[in-house]
Amino acid sequence: MSIEQHPGGPPEPPASAEESSRQEVQQWRELRAQRLAQLRPESWADYRARYLIPTISFLAVVAVIVIGGATTPGFLSQTNMLSIIRIAALTGIMGLGMTFITMSGSFFSLSSAQTGALCSISFAAMITWGWGWPASLIVTLLIAAAVGAVQGAFVAAGANPVVITIAAAAAIIGVPAILTDSRAIIIDTTEAHVIGRSTGFGVPIQTWTFIALIVIAQFVLVRTRFGRAVTLAGANREAAKAAGLPIARIEVWTFTLASITAGIAGIFVAAQSNRGLITNLEATTLEVIAAVLIGGTAIQGGEGSMIRTAFGAMFIVAINSLLVLRGYSPAIRTLVEGLAVVAGVSLFWLARGGAKR
């Protein structure tokens, strides 16, 4: 087992303590000492970059929970908390895929919700055809991947990602709308319950999937060649091109990943509600974008983290739930969500040094 496969912390020095490896050990000790020294911030700017920006979305979640718990009865109840983490999982899973797109400098996909709806319908239909849940799941995700890859290919060819995904959103929702006549496809068996309604240790499977995907996505982002290429492509597209990074392939893959995560969310919705419907996940695209932004991913790319996107999603969902419990209308909730995005983005702008950058 080679050392680069240990993601966390400095790995063990090589076991065979030969003459040659003594040097290695020495090198490692130095590197470790260096890392310790690096934990101390050097300046306010450094502090901001290293500690403030990464924790803003986490602190926002904590703030909502504390304020909600203190002011609103029932907010901290088990049912409400479970409902929050179940919904946050859907927004969050989609957010992880979206973060890849944003990190690479291609802003957002505006077809996430529609891709999710398409997948909920295709999954429900396949279940009713008697395909069984594993086959339905895999085929549906392949459809999602194809839909994303096509959009990514357009973007790679030079199309504006926003324009392409708006157009794609209409097309993606149009086809199943015609085929189903905009009616729900009802799953009348318990075939999908294993995906939609099972739990582990009392926590819904959606949330477990979310947690697993956070870990995987974060690993891919910071510890793989692909993740680094995505980051560099967003940090400076021209420099990335000059450095020989495969920009077109990166575009296709980021959009494919975003589409697959939207598909996963769509499947969860269908499996949980037993319905495939074109209005499933309606209007979640903006919530997903809000999650990415509140997580502090730079809108022009090249800076961000999956964990922070996850907290961004929890924040959006928690504040929504709080407003529901307090009896506010959907209009007010949308307004608050919008204000939270504006506040979050402004805060990051200030934390990154304001106009000086």
Binding site: I3, E4, Q5, S43, T224, R228, A243, G244, P246
Partner: protein, 497 residues
Amino acid sequence: MEYLVATDVAKSFGEVVALETADFELRRGEVMGLVGENGAGKSTFVKILCGMYRRDRGSICIDGEEVALGSTARAERAGIAVVQQELSIVPTLSVAENVFLGQPEARAVMTRKWLLREAGKHLDHVGLEVDPLTIAGDLPLAERQMVEIARVVARDAGMILLDEPTAALPDDDIERVHEVVRRLAAAGRSVVYITHRLGEVFELADRVTVFRDGRSQPPADVTDLDGDELITRMLGRRLSQMFPPRATSVGDVVLEVSDFRTEGLGVPASLTVRRGEIVGLAGQLGSGATELLRGISGTQPHEAGRVLVEGTETVINSPAGALANGVAYCSGDRKFDGFFANRRVVENFTAPGLARVTPRNLLSRRLEHRLASSLAGMVSFDTARLRHRVSTLSGGNQQKVTVGKWLGAQPKVLLIDEPTRGVDVGARAEIYRTLRDLANDGLSVVFATSEMHEVLGLADSIVTFFRGRQIAHYDGADATQAALIRDITHPDETEAA
């Protein structure tokens, strides 16, 4: 007659002292050169003068009266105008509209007639003879620079700060900018002229103020100085030799380019590069020298020609393809496509050689750190700064990262456009030495430049370019400055001239 006097001006950012103390004086109608290495406090002082930073202490008086200069608007009202290094011309507007951009005297509705008349006046002041209704983006760089100056002049400022106005200009056009500066001074305005080209100081300035290590030196008459003395004042030490010795021997042909045409290089050009050799392509902006490098590296498409790398015919259509064939191209515009400003130095260093630090597609922090350290060593970049973001580095250090990162892709040939643009004297010498060391280790280097002393001092062989065609080929040791300048400015005129 002192127009502006600054006494003991200082500025810190947190614990970082950017400007320890600066004393400065400026007479009416004088051109004051302002020089200093990057990080010497020069730009901090200039930003205080034009209201972008607030000073921590010290006084600034204009005509004997203390001024606050708390914001750019206040500085403007106090009569201080700035021509920034990065042009702020709006390329889609006409020249006349640009002149009145943000101008208090601009009208709400500007008719063509009014624009023509009023803008014409200001353009006359700077000696720019273009139709005021031309779209600014269509003008050559030098003329856009003059539109910028005209705009500043239109504000009727008593003092005009020019921040490296000629950094991106070829020699011919520099003279036009100088002419404008002389006019302004003759009209009684005071000019502060910031430059990295020391020759300009002697050509243009009456006096010069040198910044070093966060302090200003007392102003000196340029007639009391020579080039060496000025460099010594900037560095605090004598620059015994700017350039390392030439290659003693070169190896086999590594890169052979023949009948090569690309946009901006209309007449087919040829080039032969040997192992361990440094080839200098001399030419002004638009001469075809840069274009040849861009074409070879696949950064811009080539129209015709053959490229042989180590004797094998190679078709290169993209930078990635060039790297795969052992050819790296380092662009002259490092901000645009040279570095990743908000990422750490380590990540910048390892970008072109990413595959080397990601065995089985997984990133190895150990390999990455090792590669970055070794590249840093090659370009004498301080390894203690490997974790800093590139945007926080000085121009010289940014250039080291920009050049050094290509070595990670283990190229056989390194093509560099303007290797020392926007880099101070001390760092320049270091970059020259680095390139020579690399060449001695077997790398072949081809660089394009508009600075004649650079090709003369560094290159083993020299090729000159003029308006999209190759002019001549020289051995580095035999070339003369006169011959090169003739080649790159007016190769077609007879010797008698």
